[in-house]
Amino acid sequence: METLYYCGFNGFKQVPSSANNVTLTSLVPHKSASNTRILDVDICWNYLVVVQDGSGITKYGLVDGKNGSVERLTAPPHVEKIVQLSATPRHLLVCTDNGECWTHEENKGWRKVHVGAEPTPLIHDEDPAAEAINAPNAESADTGCLIDIKPEPAQAESPPKKRLSMDHDVGPGSPSCHVKLVKTSCGDAHNIGLDAQGVAYSLPSPLDFDVFPANAQHRVTDVVCGKEHCLLLTEHGQVYSWGGGSRGQLGHGSLNSEEKPRLITALDGMKIKKIAAGGWHSAVISQFDDLYMFGWNESGQLAQTTNLVRPAECFAAVEKLLMACCTMQPEDTNNPRGDSEDCEVYHKNNEEVQPPLDPEKDALTCYNAATSCNDSQSDLVVVQNIPMLVQIPGKSGEECQALDVSCGSRHTVVLTSGNQLWGFGWNKYGQLGLGHTTSKDAVEKIPLPKGFAKNSVVKMLRCGDWGTAVVISTPPKKS
């Protein structure tokens, strides 16, 4: 059995069963998205999106202007199964089981991304709406869909003629018919993809970059996207980065931006097996299961000492006032606070675990002071522009081995051997799952949820914006 757990920002009822808690500070089961196999999950500011076997894509949160929505999307026309997705507030990008790439925008529905096509000739289509989508518009000039896409008539209304024109377009002779996309990733400034052949795309066109050493053959094995930067991983374990670099997130030792993917030389010589990108920070894991991080450390998302007490952002008197006024409204305290069982945490080996605090009160605290072990202010790290090793303080060697890492806008969660989760960075919305809302600039152990049994396995880890999602798989009990 697979269960999705979530912690972090819940202002739009991303977890419907915990609708009364704006801040979920511990991993809680997402009851609506369980029971069938979870293929992929992504989190962006206003919704959580899940792809499941059988039920397809469901968005939870602020969707179509409605707070607390649970919206199941009908699949794109002729699509059997979605296997991978990435989400921003403006769109979804998905890969299907047969390697097609589609994008979904609210009010516009599905449109197919013709990957690999040269700058696309328009379909000869009389539909003025289609013209509008193909023509350069304000949306694509600003932060809207940055992909050059062709319209896809909705399945129900599509007259046969249009179907034909589309079929022709993807038929033999069209470059897109050879491309089988297996991964997409999107940020504020990029839409990127990866195909089964190991070619990376700045959608919809193949990504042009200079490999190192020149003329070497490189299959790309992964691509990831932050808010304004991207990373790609090759089969040889090299990492290239490009995009915005103002917070050191490219790892080239500067704050410059790069138009084209550029090899991170500080990591060269080391085989990297996993890459992740957060809002303005990056993480990689080496073949020896070591974690390296670079980029912005403003909330401790690199696990480097930083100044989390920002005087200008601390409003102690305001918080006191809000607390005082909360007690002036006794009716508010009678509101149900959701399933209290959800907040209980699994106590492994009787370790001391901080009890969950009152999430409503916690939501009011601004930047809580981090308990930093280093008193010397001169060692503070705000921007780290070359990769730096992050030690996981596990009790055993196994616990120190990083297997997976995922980054939200300003936080990081790491999975180590033995199904242990670790987190650091911004925690105002409980996204670290530590039972409180204090940001951490050092690696902290994340308590596993109560439902985690001896034979359970952490199957998937996904951070996005202000939330963390974990899929836990537990084999059925033998009768």
Binding site: F9, G11, N20, V22, T23, W45, N46, L62, G65, N67, T88, P89, R90, H91, E105, E106, A138, E139, A141, D142, T143, G144, D188, A189, K227, E228, G244, S246, G279, W280, R310, P311, A312, E313, F315, A316, A317, V318, K320, L321, L322, A324, C325, M328, Q329, D332, N335, P336, A363, L364, C366, S376, Q377, S378, L380, V382, S409, K428, Y429, W466
Partner: protein, 434 residues
């Protein structure tokens, strides 16, 4: 109870300047928003404005569990999201909409909190005002000046209310300090004394200094400034605390902007004085309130100064074209050797500063950085010049002077200068003009 009544009526007065129609005017209409994300936030802000009440006596619309929109945490989440958008991409490339939203969300926070305080006792009300000023200043510094700088005007109003409020609100603000002089002038390399003039006529200034682009020290040139004259407007630490103490300003941390650990942060003038000027605690980095248009932020300070007549010798016919920045900090703040694109009249108000000058003709001997962002900065560290790497620097012809209170130095455009403060505190104003 008189104090109570007064602060309550003052609060209601502020609230009346934040009624729903004003806020609606501040929010860009949805049809004008050209991106999905901006429309998403814009809709939420509109919903928030609709959910707040104008009657201050009623307090904010009670945030029931079912309508999170309308609650203070919701404003916090909107604020955090807009802040992230402001930090995505280069600052100059961030869409204006996000700066408008940032200012608007600050106004909404202010309105929410002011309304809450109408139900509090006077002392609780006063206790919140410093935080409210911070909210206004943050919104004003990072946001768009909506409704004719409404946030900044509200901050000024709150600061005045606070000053004239009850004695308890004037927390013990110490202005005692041991005047500290720098142990030494840090700039190495030879230099001769800069020409010194008194009562320099405008004509002579133009013909002998401005046109040939030569620097000059003008002593005793600010005697007519109220800021320099004993009286209620003389700039002292006590006066600055009174007028500006609760206002938030940007502060540079680190020895100088060319250092790798140099950063900027925001804090109130009081915090800056307490923690970075009067009693700095090493190894805390040095703090410098540098290149900040404080007189724009706090217009009442403008009445205390006079723009030097020398600034009107070019295209500038009125004060509009003159950029005035404040440079305020403890001893030994360093501005490394650099040039500015405009004419500069640097005026010393409090304390002393050392200036090293190299005219533009010395540029080949000063090795400017190749990097575009730092191309106005020399690679020579005047504190530890590396003559092996930069051999021509030995021949550079430099000038030097020490600015005393009331002195000003003219620095032509493209003229290299290094500045070190020699005293705690030291406050200068730079007047950039064309």
């Amino acid at each position: 109870m008189a104090d109570d009544d007064k602060s309550l009526s003052q609060t209601r007065d502020l609230l009346s300047r934040l009624d729903a129609s004003v806020l609606r005017d501040c929010c860009p209409p949805l049809v004008a928003l050209d991106s999905v994300e901006a429309r998403l936030i814009g809709r939420l802000l509109h919903a928030f404005i609709a959910a707040t009440r104008d009657d201050p006596g009623a307090g904010p619309a009670s945030a029931s569990a079912s309508s999170w929109i309308g609650s203070y945490p919701a404003l916090g989440a909107l604020h955090d999201r807009i802040w992230e958008k402001l930090n995505t991409g280069h600052w100059s490339a961030v869409a204006l909409t996000w700066r408008q939203f940032y200012a608007l969300v600050s106004l909404l926070k202010l309105k929410y909190l002011l309304a809450l305080t109408t139900r509090c006792a006077a002392d609780e009300r006063w206790a919140v005002w410093p935080d409210l000023i911070k909210i206004c200043d943050m919104g004003s510094l990072m946001g768009y000046p909506l409704a004719d700088h409404l946030l900044n005007r509200l901050a000024a109003q709150l600061a005045r209310m606070l000053w004239h409020g009850p004695p308890a609100s004037k927390r013990a603000l110490h202005t005692n300090f041991t005047p500290l002089a720098s142990r030494k002038i840090r700039a190495q390399g030879r230099a001769q004394a800069l020409p010194v003039k008194q009562d320099l006529s405008i004509l002579t200034f133009v013909s002998q200094y401005r046109i040939p682009a030569r620097s000059v020290l003008l002593v005793g040139a600010m005697a007519d400034w109220p800021a320099m004259t004993p009286g209620p407007h003389q700039w002292t630490l006590a006066y600055l605390r009174r007028v500006a103490g609760y206002r938030t300003v940007p502060v540079e941390l680190g020895s100088k902007y060319t250092d790798p650990d140099w950063t900027q942060t925001l804090m109130t003038v009081n915090q800056f004085l307490d923690e970075y000027v009067l009693t700095p605690k090493p190894p805390q980095p040095r703090g410098y309130l540098a290149q900040h248009p404080l007189l724009e932020q706090i217009p009442e300070l403008s009445a205390d100064i006079l723009i030097p007549d020398y600034c009107y010798t070019g295209e500038n016919e009125d004060a509009d074209g003159v950029d005035i920045n404040v440079w305020f900090g403890p001893r030994d703040t360093i501005s490394p050797l650099h040039t500015d694109p405009k004419h500069n009249m640097l005026c010393q108000v409090m304390g002393r500063k050392y200036i090293r000058i190299y005219h533009a003709d010395q540029t080949p001997r000063l090795y400017p950085h190749a990097d575009f962002l730092l191309s106005n900065t020399s690679r020579i560290d005047l504190e530890r010049p590396d003559f092996d790497s930069f051999p021509l620097f030995k021949e550079a012809e430099g000038f030097e002077c020490v600015l005393e209170p009331g002195d000003m130095v003219y620095i032509p455009p493209g003229c290299w200068h290094f500045v070190q403060s020699l005293s705690t505190p030291s406050l200068s104003l730079s007047f950039w003009f064309n």
